[in-house]
Symmetry: C2
Subunit: 376 residues, 2 copies
């Protein structure tokens, strides 16, 4: 594990970047979508099948894993990769986002956050230092700095206070992380929807010097228009020679718009969660398989899709197994959605390489506007 | 679909038979275990993975499928095979067992059974004629005669009345089935634990002439000892040149004992259901993965097993995902159990071929008695 972490831009198209993130566990082709494996599993998928969809990297959730099975146990068992049978790179979040969401169950001080486990009610503490330690025990390849995801909406004053604390925590995260060849640490920009605070945050992070930079505090209820307003300027405040990761995003059109604004990495529970809820995401828009109109439909979900759900099964079958609450419903719908997401990322990468991203995006939007796939 | 159904015995060892059932959709190596795909899915498994465990044939449940998605719909969609993406043979039960179990919700007459759907409460009717029609609409390769699975315990009088009605229904099933080249119809022996009634039932079935013969009314609470008592004589009452199918059996040691008594085919929900419930079935006995002793155990479930659960994951992982209620727990545990069952069947087939079934059975029992795998 002595190979160093690195990032190289291979091509650009406008603000969009086609790059490669090199890690000790393999390359990540960017723009990249990272499926979420919260509790050491991408729900409903075997890891080899996640890889087959084209995913280069998974995301793991520190909060969930520290509570169950526990970070020390994970370390004794050889780390998260071996535990969940995934040989490729893993990015772990810091746990901050989840513990901040535990309204009424957590207490925030400058030192860190005390909170109660949703599993057994036991008391826990997370800080920049403990988050770095836990992520190291998990064996994460890309470690995220511990911060507060500023809620939306926030006043200028609340946002500023939160962002500045996150920047102090970013420095403490860097100090605690130390030097770990082959492992990377990403800082997280905050500042809500305020450009001057985004600039102040970016400057602070650059001063600390990270291996990559995330854009935090978006996709928290501000809506796509306001998110894109921030993304019109926020990525450009971050170093050009480091990967940029937009946390928790998003819907397919969010991703296309963010890539065009210079973002390289994404994660979101949407494809897996909506798959379990019977929603297929396709190039023609969303298909709700629970809709009775699919009951007798012999056609595949998306006739252009090469995933196992679309090549092996009718909409009638997918409707049936969803209604019957069968496990295979979650398996097939999740597989389709992850396949579609990875195909979208591959399309975006190809378009940047060939300098045709605008045309790609125009076609992407036209097909979605034209086509209610469900009604075809 | 003009290829005829057939059965050929390739080798025997005592009463045990090593054979091949030929169907239009492929051969079934016997002794065979048929995984149960109740609602057009083997719960938690993709059909290609069921095939990878070594299964030649699946079982589908007429009762569940007629209610949801419905037999007419299934026929319009091209039948059960296409619907569930399984190209191999499928055996369907008659629906009789399930509707008889609907205590208080069904009414039995000579004509058939009126019952209410567990899905939506709607009224339905099943008879020999309608069961044959529904199984034909499903596209079943091996159709089961409509009968009553006599409950246990039953008095001689109750059993006799039930068996004789089932034999009248067997004749009506045969008449309704007619001639369908490439599709087979199996009759079902009843008679509870009464040898004279088993003989009378076998004689009636042979008089009607079926493509194969099932032994019904066992594994319904009588216990293994009493079941084996019946199996000491019941299979021998059935034709030697036709396959013999013991319905709803069973545990691994039930299967070994029944094969030694001349049974060729089995089905049971045990491997899939117990997998979902966190119980692994292994050559050393059962392992309850929810047991806290597995929490830190880096070893595989069964070090000798080549299934994906055993080659890719620790007991600690399997424990974790079971406790976290993750879908992958059902997926991996079911895969292991089905793999083990098919490996057991392959072992039995090999032992019969080489005339070493007694030694195989002795070793099978010795390993289970010696080894609490869980405690190793």
């Amino acid at each position: 594990m002595t190979k160093l972490f690195g990032y190289k831009v291979a091509a650009t198209d406008g603000k969009a970047r086609r790059g490669v993130v090199r890690t000790a566990r393999g390359d990540i082709q960017t723009p990249a979508f990272m499926p979420v494996g919260t509790a050491a599993t991408v729900k409903g998928m075997l890891p080899e099948n996640v890889a087959a969809t084209g995913a280069d990297i998974l995301l793991g959730n520190t909060y969930h894993l520290m509570l169950r099975p526990g970070a020390e146990r994970m370390a004794r068992l050889g780390g998260l990769h071996r535990f969940m049978n995934w040989a490729g790179p893993i990015l772990t979040d810091s746990g901050g986002f989840q513990v901040m969401s535990l309204t009424g169950l957590r207490k925030l001080t400058e030192k860190g956050v005390t909170f109660k486990s949703h599993v057994d009610g036991s008391a826990h503490f997370l800080s920049p230092e403990s988050s770095m330690e836990i992520q190291a025990m998990l064996g994460s390849d890309i470690v995220m700095a511990f911060d507060e995801c500023t809620p939306f909406p926030a006043s200028r004053e609340v946002s500023l206070e939160s962002m500045q604390r996150s920047m102090r925590w970013a420095q403490r995260s860097k100090d605690a992380f130390g030097k770990r060849p082959g492992h990377a640490l990403f800082g997280i920009q905050q500042g809500s929807v305020f450009a001057d605070q985004r600039e102040e945050s970016a400057a602070a992070l650059k001063g600390i010097d990270f291996d990559g930079y995330a854009i935090g505090g978006l996709a928290v209820g501000e809506g796509q228009e306001m998110m894109f307003d921030v993304l019109d300027y926020a990525p450009g405040m971050l170093p050009e020679d480091k990967p940029r990761y937009l946390m928790g995003v998003g819907k397919p059109d969010d991703i296309v718009g963010a890539v065009m604004r210079g973002v390289d990495m994404f994660d979101c529970v949407l494809p897996s969660r909506s798959g379990r809820n019977g929603q297929a995401l396709t190039r023609m828009g969303a298909v709700n398989i629970k809709n009775a109109r699919h009951r007798d439909d012999p056609r595949p979900l998306d006739p252009e899709c090469a995933c196992p759900a679309c090549t092996g099964y009718s909409r009638a079958y997918l409707h049936h197994v969803f209604k019957a609450n069968e496990i295979i419903s979650s398996m097939l719908m999740t597989w389709h959605n992850l396949h579609y997401y990875q195909e979208l990322m591959a399309g975006l990468r190809g378009a940047i390489e060939s300098g045709s991203l605008s045309a790609f995006a125009a076609s992407f939007h036209a097909r979605r506007e034209k086509g209610d796939l469900e009604a075809l």
